[in-house]
Symmetry: C3
Subunit: 346 residues, 3 copies
């Protein structure tokens, strides 16, 4: 294979082709063609598995059950790190077996996404919208005036793109995704089903007798390679856009209030709630169901524990927990002390 | 009526027919036909109500106001337990009046679901999908290649069924429900509107410069008679399916992470968040907005209190509360002690 | 301009027209026509900005940076309060500059909502539904039998209105909104995308071997001028409607359980979860991710802090925090005391 060789998506590959795709070194021989990445237990001879003997990305070494599963796997090809004893079986040495498995699985899984180009006859595309000829606009999509859909973008079905919004090249918008007006989305983003981006932010002015809605005119600006889960919500900003930086990962049921700004590589796990006008630095991580109250700033690399509530600024690199969130170590001592006292009283 | 007699759905019933349907004993006489189950206050002579003198399913006996409402109800027919004094009014004695009312209401409410068989002309069904002739595929539904829709299934409108997914007999998928690829759903399940099942799980491998998505190939396996609320999310597993056992009840805004496995009869109330790779035993109950962090195991029959966060394994039958969740009694003592101390300091 | 003058929506306005629209007094002169409300920093000469020198609605006076931004703004017209020194620039004096800005922005933003009347050819409207001739039924909407859609209502796209439901005059239902059967919605309500109203409530009766669903027949009753965010859920009541009073504001991911009743002007911020049979008095406010367990009563004007869990009745006007929620002052003392003790032990 030439350097940079890319196989036709979805096709079976032989061991040499797998090695080229994952940039690894083949040891042993096999004439088999492979079609799936599977787990150690369910793999058969036409499947590839991955295993590492050293600690994985979160520092965990394989348990005894995993070692045994690796010894007993019926997989025809192993993606392994340098330390692993492959016992003479056909294997490919790579620096990061999980990463190699992800790339390989992406090759085989691409078939699952329908790739027929063009606009489905049931889609409703305004004549003042621009859709790239290589994009796919699936059944029952609606594209409003002024919207622009980039090359190889895939709007699977029932997607609504609001007035003047832009969907970058190679984005995937799953069924039922709604983009309001003035949403800008960079290339290679993936949005899961029924997520709403660019809905009017929650901004009102009290008139003395009722709440008057302040139109939210800023839209949403989303960088490149952002992935957003299902049933999430990102509200439009008031005057300036709500911002999601490049390479952010947002899970399901995440809510981002108007005017908040996320840096790059921010991770928000399931059910995280970010109020309005919050700033989050690069690489910060919010664990599941945690959140931040409005107008706070969370420094780069900060970590917020599960169900914690940030109600003040969080320094770069700090780990916070609790409600209201405090330094993680302090929170642990508070909880342990309280438990001990309650047990004594018993 | 013959044993096993079933009336035409939605039709008015006389007292003898109601007694047959709920398997009860009629006392008193009435020539009235009935059309609705209502509450004691709003019922009229063509309505049926239910009442029990003993404690109900959660151990609560009727309050004075309820007793008075029962005395004063204008309902034409009463579903009552053995202890209730019906004061000579037409009544049907049953072991569980609420259960009888539910069955009777199901008979009359069935009309509300459109039952016209067949595929609506606006639906888009791939020629490689199989739809049972008795199923109903409503307006704007999309059925992908390889999908199978069972007998008497009802996809109300705007439902998307992904590639290779199977919807069992007599399932009801409400408007906007999205099933990703590889979702298997047993018979008689009900899914409320805009819920997403089989969306890609939140799994990534860090490459040294970015997060690479690990395709989630395991799909979701849902048992029989499972009911799922609105705007909920169940993510696809990585290699093996995420599993929801028979007879589970999931409320609105529930999130189930990839690779989690729920037993049978598990109840998850509104806004419960279950991370990835969590195991939940038969009959466990999570109260509203509670959740479990990844890779924990919750034993059969365990109860998790409102907004609690499970961060460790929970034994069978235990009740846990707090964040992090601990034994309920301990949590109560912690809170009471803390309150007392704070009040003293005041 | 005559009193009560209303400009054509979306049209540019000169300073005299702006003054008439916001009921203010013009000082200085300008021949400019204006087209947008913007923030101080990004405004140009064809834009209007707003500023107040006194404290705003939440008691905050302008910071130094804001004062400088006001001095330096390039905006061609200023909406200001009586105290502000406009330095001879063209300005309009009003009692509440933010309110004036909201009204003005509403005028210019109205263009964003498509206003073409009539029923889109891809919409499916039952012949037993009634749609006002001035309403707009967008692409792929479904209107069931017996539904009634009021004058100037706008169902943007992919909206489902269930059997017998009524949408009041001038309501806006954004893409993917689902109304179940028996939803009554007063005039001038706005519902953001993918929200579900009138889904079956979470009510079951244990039969001894399984949970039998009690049909939820009460529907939902929504007052006038109610605004509801994206991906929220309001469940149908069992016998009587779940009630949302006039002028309530509900943010994204809000859940309201069956049979709950909200008064008027209630505010529920993002991710608030209200269980079944909860009563909430006029003007009560729930901060983000807070909630109330079933069958509790929250008095008028009560305030519930971020992520608090109400598990008992809350008196009128009280402020509660924590889990379980207690008086806010007590909760603060509990947390501060605990932190001090933990710091000492360190």
């Amino acid at each position: 294979m030439n350097p940079g060789w890319t196989p036709e998506p979805g096709t079976p590959l032989n061991a040499e082709q797998v090695a080229a795709l994952v940039d690894g070194t083949l040891e042993g021989e096999t004439g088999q063609y492979f079609e799936h990445v599977r787990d150690l237990e369910s793999a058969t001879k036409s499947d590839v598995v991955f295993f590492r003997s050293g600690p994985n990305g979160i520092g965990r070494a394989p348990a005894q059950a995993e070692l045994e599963a690796f010894q007993n796997t019926a997989a025809g090809l192993l993606l392994v790190d340098a330390l692993t004893d492959a016992s003479g079986r056909a294997c490919i040495r790579v620096a990061n077996p999980a990463l190699a498995a992800a790339k390989l699985a992406q090759h085989w899984e691409s078939y699952i996404t329908e790739t027929a180009m063009g606009i489905h006859p049931t889609a409703v595309v305004d004549k003042a919208a621009k859709v790239d000829i290589s994009a796919r606009i699936g059944p029952h999509c609606v594209i409003a005036a002024g919207a622009v859909i980039g090359a190889h973008a895939n709007l699977v079905s029932g997607v609504h793109v609001g007035e003047g919004s832009r969907v970058g090249d190679a984005c995937v918008l799953n069924p039922g995704v709604v983009l309001g007006p003035r949403v800008e989305m960079g290339q290679k983003c993936v949005v899961q089903a029924n997520t709403v981006i660019g809905s009017a932010g929650f901004g009102y002015v009290w008139s003395g007798s009722e709440h008057v809605h302040m139109p939210q005119m800023g839209g949403v600006q989303i960088g490149e390679r952002v992935e957003i889960g299902a049933n999430s919500c990102i509200d439009a900003g008031t005057f300036q856009p709500t911002v999601i930086g490049d390479n952010c990962l947002l899970d399901n049921h995440v809510q981002i209030g108007h005017n908040s700004k996320l840096g790059r590589f921010v991770i928000l796990c399931g059910k995280v709630g970010i109020s309005g006008s919050v700033e989050i630095g690069d690489g910060a991580i919010f664990a599941g169901s945690s959140g931040a109250a409005g107008h706070n700033s969370i420094g780069p690399g900060a970590k917020i524990a599960v169900k914690a509530v940030v109600t003040s600024n969080v320094p770069a690199g700090a780990t916070y927990a609790g409600n209201p969130a405090v330094d993680y170590g302090l929170h642990q001592r508070m909880q342990i002390m309280l438990r001990r006292m309650a047990r004594k009283k018993k």
